[in-house]
Amino acid sequence: MGRADWRRPARWWPEIALVVALIVLPFGFDAWFRSPDLLTRILIWGIFGLGFDLLFGRTGLLSFGQAAFYGTGGFVTAYLLTSNTLDNVWLAMLIGILAATAFSVAVGFLALRRVGIYFAMITLAFGELSYFLENSPLSDFTGGENGLPGVPAPTIHIGSFTYAFTGSWPSYQLVAAFFFAGFVVARFVTLSPVGLVLTAIQQNPERTAALGHDVGAYKLAVFVFAAVFAGCGGVLLGIFQSYMPPDAFSLETSGQLVIQTVIGGAGTLIGPAVGAAVWLSLRDVLQQVPAIGDLWKFILGFVFVVLVTLLPSGIVGTIARLWARPRSAVAPAATAHRDAAARETLLAARPAAPKAAPSEFALEARDVRKAYGGIRAVDGVSLALPEGACHAVIGPNGAGKSTFLRLLKREETVDSGSILMHGADITAADVTAAYQYGLSKSYQINQLFPQLTVRQNLRIGALGRQRGRLRLDIFRSADGFPQVEAVVDALIEELDLTACADTVVSVLAYGEKRRLELGLALASQPSVLLLDEPLAGLSPAEREGVKDLIRNVGKGRTIILVEHDMDAVFELAQRITVLHEGRVLAEGTPKEISNDPSVRQAYLGGMAP
């Protein structure tokens, strides 16, 4: 079982520490502040922040509109209860959270079409839209700028035992219970394959998609997930205060969430709660200091700017970094050793094309065309590769080789023509589906996940094939698939990366990164492998190593090789296709090609001076 598997006791230390903290802290707050209320508020922000941390800290999606879901959850619940539509508080809470979830599906569907700046702007706009809706058109339901007072607290009935969560301490217990549950779930997510995919999306979304994960679906999933937590926070706010305030929807609320997360540390799960503690207690403390008084928010803003500039990991993040051993000194975990034959079996090709029809060709391109504007980059290229072939595609600059390769890997749509894999038509498939069918590509410029280890990089590739496009298996450990781990181990050995298996990629030497790049393409055990200039940037010695690697992994696989190193092409390829200006100029064995006068013409320049 994986290291983070729920059956392993060691994995539960953070949760245990949290329980202890949640039991002990309120007494401290009670002694200092005369009630645990401040801690309750902190934890409500903490719940709000758990979801946001997964969205922003882990996946890198900076949303300025989370208040939309915080407010929706809170107001739907508050309305249902204060208008006497529902008596059961628990049911009203559930409906409130579901309402926030439903709203987030709609917003996410629109907002996630864009990334970065656009995404921030769109989420901010939707947050403001919700604020406006609460204030005006829906004010009959929401109380407009007055909010909704009189929100009741839930009660537990077990037999004759009744417990109402009204009052300071019971409110705290309710909120703390929710925070704990939320933390447990959020932590499961971070330790699961889902968490690994989300991190991969933050670091290199295009490669993540090319490795078989449905990036759009995962993003929507985490966006909705964050909204569930937000809705939960809003619901609890209304109950805790017995009043639902309109500014739950405001930009200030969304902004405060962002600031608290950054101060506490994005990506740490408890960062938002720590940030809230800092913000709220500093606010209370600073306001008492006569010299500061109303400047408290200015000071906090200043602290925020300083932190973003100098300590981007936030408080908890920085502590975590200092605690962890320096990256380069990490000794690799034991990589199970297997002999070459066993590795070969493990890494053997596993094709899975749709409705595999019997065909003598592993990969076929039929009259494929692609134009950009008026330029015909690929102008009717046809190719047919039998199983196990190693076929090179060469041609002068601008011949269309890279475009052709991108079309094959389904990174772009063809204008016309078709692409078949093992006889099945995959022309309409997207890049993620292509990977699932066993078609994989290694890139000219390394497309790796720089902040993850070699092992984690390979795992992302292997998990794609194992789990399919989308699987929300949050209760599984990321390394809990024995088959996946076996493949990863075999790859590490095959790629000669055993010494740096648990080293973070960003500190690796270029040659090691290049081998890893090849490894990522192999992780799905592809039956068809596209290699885009695999020798680019390598020293002569390293070239030999990679050529050997290609020969090894080529057994039982079909390979298309684009390369400029002609010696390597002649050594590795059985047949060569020469492209020129988007069309096939010649095709044949290396000997035939080197003797072909039209090819020589194309390379040396067809124009008379």
Partner: protein, 291 residues
């Protein structure tokens, strides 16, 4: 059913508001197009302009001084911000740039709140702005007509700056291909500073003009910031014509929907923004994929 007078009056309001948005959004757009930074402090800069007007017009009766000083103050703020903060962020991810300008915006708002208090201030209409204009079909406040004229002149100046001067040439080329500009011997980074100052000034001067029209409070810039984002999405990132056209469009949508149902004016612009994002994500005039 609104009368013709009401309709025309609101249409004019749309131009007044829209041209103001166009000016603010132009500033935001050139900063975004050239530096790639989404300036979350832009609304606060607008607010600073309004407060400058408040301070100046409380002591001198010269609108010209208010405009000049507003431009100067925001030039200084822009200069300090770019040199002291933004230039360390060009290599950092976009999210970090957003965060730091967001924090800066808070600092500016809170500093103003501390100095002037949170109550709304009134800026008096200048003497030449009081009274009404009779357009025959409807009557309209004089200052708003003058404001439209003033903003129009400023937008024209902006246009001249961008399209008829050397610095404008560098900015427009720099938005497209900064490396090529470097290869032609011009130090692009130095131009960044001027662009940021110009963008800040645009927002600040808009604030000065807007000040007599509404309550001046510390967070008055917030709704304008959000509306600016809508303008930029509709008009296209990094595009000056996009900011102008987008601004007028948003201004008119806001004003005219108010005629029929004030409650839905805001919702209307977000609906249009959503439509643009689905149908034509790069906006009306956007060409660069900076998003």
């Amino acid at each position: 059913m609104p009368t013709l007078a009401q309709f025309l009056s609101q249409a004019f309001n749309g131009i007044a508001l829209g041209s103001l948005l166009a000016l603010i959004a132009s500033g935001l757009s050139i900063i975004l197009g050239t530096l790639g930074v989404l300036n979350f402090a832009h609304g606060a800069m607008f607010m600073l302009g309004a407060y400058t007007a408040y301070v100046v017009l409380g002591h001198w009766d010269s609108f010209a001084v208010a405009l000049a000083l507003g431009a100067l103050v925001l030039f200084a703020v822009g200069f300090a911000t770019e040199r002291g903060l933004i230039r360390f962020y060009y290599a950092r991810p976009k999210e970090d740039q957003i965060l730091v300008t967001f924090g800066l915006g808070i600092m500016l708002v809170e500093a103003v709140r501390y100095v002037f208090g949170g109550l709304s201030q009134r800026v008096p209409l200048p003497a030449w702005g009081q009274g009404i204009v009779n357009f025959g079909y409807f009557i309209y406040p004089l200052y708003r007509v003058e404001a439209i004229g003033l903003v129009g002149v400023l937008l024209l100046a902006f246009y001249v700056l961008l399209y008829r001067t050397r610095i404008g040439l560098v900015v427009r080329a720099g938005i497209e291909d900064p490396l090529m500009v470097e290869l032609l011997g011009t130090h692009v980074r130095r131009a960044f500073l001027i662009v940021f100052c110009l963008g800040a000034m645009a927002a600040g001067v808009a604030g000065v003009i807007y000040a007599p029209l509404a309550a001046v409070i510390p967070n008055m810039g917030e709704p304008f910031l959000v509306e600016c984002f809508v303008v930029v999405v509709i008009g296209g990132l990094g595009s000056f014509p996009g900011a102008v056209v987008g601004g007028i469009v948003v201004g008119e949508i806001l004003s005219l929907t108010t005629l029929f149902n004030p409650a839905y004016a805001q919702a209307a612009i977000y609906a249009v923004m959503t439509l643009v994002l689905i149908v034509r994500p790069r906006g009306l005039f956007g060409t660069m994929g900076r998003a």
